[in-house]
């Protein structure tokens, strides 16, 4: 029991460093859950963009534009000031700027319509859809004018067409709670497990593996098996505490719904498997590194690399094909795949069970592999010494 108690004494004395990574995780999850996962995606939804309009024309076209797109996006009229526009794009006050030149409405009925202008910040995929919508809006106007309609009839007709939309619904097998805060919290839990797991276990192992401590321990009456069992028990208890904390956090963010969610057992099984992987990484880092600077470096490298490549911070849908081929071998990618699948789960079927089991087994085997590699490394180091 001495080593078991020592484990937690060491954790307590290093709690402030561990709190740093816990703080980053809590900050990240709090903001992300409130912004991205605040409502379950129970239906199809399109992004609402902030769009700025520079209206030098101030005529029927711009009024039609504002009315047409005003219901779908947040439109704001701004002055034609290059500096103000650049500032707005720079601080992401708006994702897209449309410039309607003076005389544009008149030019629609002339030989050649004037050119519209746009500015956008690179990286907004939703702005791409808006631009497609915008082009179709212009196309409709020209089509209606070509049909012989007057400008007034054209703009009226365009507004009438706006209400013609197909009915969109989600399939019956889709869970209404998909993309909710419970899914969001569990999606980011690997960052917590990896960073805190590595930091906590490394700090304890650094303290225990100091030469003078090791020398005294070697002469102690406690056998090596008992000491290792004490350590392993400490790690297991810490892992279970982290898992329980994740479940509690999910319950808090979901306002009490997580504990009655039928998906919770699957989320916890998945989280348990990534926890095993994370703790084995912590053991590896603790045995390989000798200083806190090295430990901090390893925490950042492992947590950020695995979380980015696993599709935790950036969705896998933006990965290229070559990237996906490599990321498929990353354990956190299997975790994310499972988490998404559990989030969307409406019923348990064979395919669900097969995929979940396959990825969970992969995670556990990865953890065991890292543990074995560490043992080999430690043994080789001892032989050399």
């Amino acid at each position: 029991m001495q080593v078991f108690k020592l484990f937690f004494k060491l954790l307590r004395s290093n709690f402030k460093i561990i709190m740093v990574y816990l703080g980053v995780f809590l900050g990240m999850v709090t903001i992300l859950v409130n912004v991205q996962y605040s409502k379950a995606q129970s239906g199809y939804s399109q992004d609402r963009l902030d769009i700025a309009v520079v209206d030098d024309d101030n005529a029927a076209y711009s009024a039609a534009f504002m009315e047409f797109f005003g219901t779908k996006h947040n439109l704001v009229k701004i002055e034609n000031d290059e500096k103000e526009i650049a500032e707005g794009l720079y601080w992401r006050e708006y994702a897209y700027v449309v410039v309607i030149p003076k005389g544009f409405t008149e030019s629609l009925t002339g030989e050649k319509p004037m050119e519209l202008s746009k500015m956008e910040v690179p990286g907004s995929f939703s702005a791409g859809y808006f631009e497609a919508d915008f082009n179709m809006f212009n196309q409709k106007i020209l089509t209606l004018l070509e049909c012989g309609m007057t400008l007034e009839e054209t703009f009226q007709e365009v507004q009438n067409l706006k209400s013609v939309t197909p009915k969109v619904e989600m399939a019956s097998f889709v869970n209404e709670s998909q993309g909710d805060s419970t899914t969001g919290v569990f999606n980011h839990v690997p960052y917590f497990f990896i960073s805190v797991g590595i930091a906590a276990i490394s700090l304890v192992l650094h303290a225990i593996n100091q030469q003078e401590v090791k020398d005294r321990t070697e002469c102690s009456p406690e056998t090596i098996i008992k000491r290792n069992l004490g350590l392993i028990s400490g790690v297991i208890v810490m892992g279970i505490a982290m898992l329980a904390f994740s479940a509690l956090l999910a319950n808090v963010f979901s306002k009490g719904q997580a504990f009655t969610d039928k998906r919770l057992p699957f989320f916890l099984i998945n989280a348990f498997c990534v926890m095993v992987f994370s703790l084995s990484l912590g053991y590896f880092a603790g045995m390989v590194t000798k200083s806190e600077a090295a430990m901090n470096g390893m925490v950042n490298i492992f947590s950020l690399t695995l979380c980015f490549m696993g599709g935790i911070f950036v969705p896998p849908s933006v990965f290229g094909d070559n990237v996906k081929k490599v990321c498929q071998y990353i354990p956190t990618y299997w975790y994310t795949t499972n988490n998404d699948m559990i989030g969307k789960m409406a019923e348990v079927d064979n395919e669900f069970v097969t995929t979940l089991t396959k990825n969970c087994v992969g995670l556990i085997l990865s953890g065991i592999a890292i543990f074995v590699i560490t043992l080999v490394f430690v043994s080789a180091k001892r032989k050399r010494a």
Binding site: N138, E146, G297
Partner: protein, 380 residues
């Protein structure tokens, strides 16, 4: 002379140097690998769509199928159409991931999805346009029946005019949407210098280390010792960060804009601010060396998090809720200085950011100097 010894002693602490260098190089390589192919990911590929039609196809169904199969985006077909006569079969295909959406022609073109993605948005927009074109033809014929041929021609794409939307390019050269992450890595690299700054104070404070105790009673003034150590560490860290910058520029081909000098300047000032922050933390924080190290980690991790290292959109969220924080967070200032130059080509905003960073660094330094002056110990 003592500056040279300081540099030599830092060089011997190779694990610290290694992690200061390894972390940004490894992370930027990972980001380059992940986001370097973003152009491929956003390049269009056909969407699989299921269309429910009757066994005996009506004219409307035949027409819709023909148009859907033939519609193109650029040179490529927009959709690969799978025909179904039964909703159950189509739903099974949707669940299995064989199709991205189901269009039921006989239920007013009702669409069924299982998620919210690129393919789903494309299907929705296409069906919407199809329905709106049908209504457009109907209404146009009602209003101007004499122009029926023109109407059909216009809807088929025979329009004599077109509206072009010209893009006004931003002045910067960098158009990569994920450069934000590369800049965040550099920002974090600059702030990791706080560890070195903290270490300087540990080596000067009598209650922090044996060397600090010896130096406190040495005839050399504390100001001279701190200044020399700071300068030596700063120069060494500048060399490390320049190695990282060169790696990112020439090996990873990261586009920092037309000129490298603003990037180099921003990095040097970022290093100064990071090191000064470490100095201030080391002097002001009471407690063990470990606690001070922890505070340095909290500083650079927290600052980098709010600058968008883990999640790029956080800067936008903070700009809406607490814009003042973006103006004083060192990592955000470093990232914004890169962005203002590389993306927007805006030298004014660039200088505002780096001058603010410099002022913050000087404030940290001033606090550290004032706290260090005439420190006396009742007991160490």
């Amino acid at each position: 002379m003592s500056g040279i010894y300081k540099i030599l002693s830092e060089l011997r602490s190779w694990p610290t140097l290694f992690w200061s260098l390894a972390f940004p190089i490894l992370l930027s390589t990972i980001f380059k690998f992940m986001f370097g192919g973003i152009a491929d990911a956003t390049t269009f590929s056909e969407s699989q769509v299921g269309v429910i039609v009757s066994a005996e196809k009506s004219e409307l169904e035949k027409e819709f199928l023909t148009v859907t199969k033939e519609v193109k985006l650029g040179d490529a077909s927009m959709f690969v159409v799978q025909e179904y006569t039964d909703m159950a079969d189509a739903t099974a295909a949707l669940k299995a991931g064989k199709i991205s959406g189901i269009i039921d022609v006989n239920q007013d073109f009702a669409i069924t999805f299982k998620g919210n993605g690129v393919a789903e948005s494309l299907i929705k927009v296409y069906v919407e346009q199809y329905l709106q074109n049908m209504k457009l033809v109907e209404d146009a014929i009602k209003l101007h029946p004499e122009n029926i041929e023109k109407i059909i021609g216009a809807v088929s794409g025979n329009i004599s005019k077109s509206v072009t939307v010209k893009a006004i390019e931003l002045k910067g050269a960098d158009k990569n949407p994920f450069s934000q992450y590369m800049y965040s890595v550099i920002g974090m690299t600059c702030l990791i210098a706080s560890n070195m700054g903290c270490y300087i104070t540990i080596m000067i404070q009598a209650d922090a280390s044996a060397l600090g105790a010896r130096r406190s009673v040495s005839p050399t003034g504390k100001a001279k010792i701190v200044f020399t150590d700071f300068l030596a560490s700063y120069l060494l860290y500048d060399v490390l960060s320049m190695m990282v910058l060169l790696y990112m520029r020439f090996v990873l081909q990261t586009d920092f804009g037309k000129n490298m000098w603003p990037v180099v300047l921003a990095t040097l000032i970022g290093n100064f601010c990071g090191m000064a922050a470490g100095l201030m933390i080391g002097v002001c924080a009471r407690g063990s060396v470990r606690k001070k190290d922890g505070l340095c980690v909290a500083f650079f991790m927290g600052s980098s998090f709010f600058a968008g290292l883990q999640w790029g959109d956080i800067v936008r969220i903070i700009e809406k809720k607490a814009p003042l924080f973006n103006r004083i967070n060192p990592a955000t200032l470093i990232v914004n200085s890169f962005k203002s130059w590389a993306v927007f080509g805006d030298i004014t905003n660039f200088f505002i950011n780096i001058v603010t960073l410099l002022v913050i660094g000087l404030i940290f330094l001033l606090i550290a100097v004032l706290k260090l002056r005439r420190t006396k110990y009742a007991s160490i």
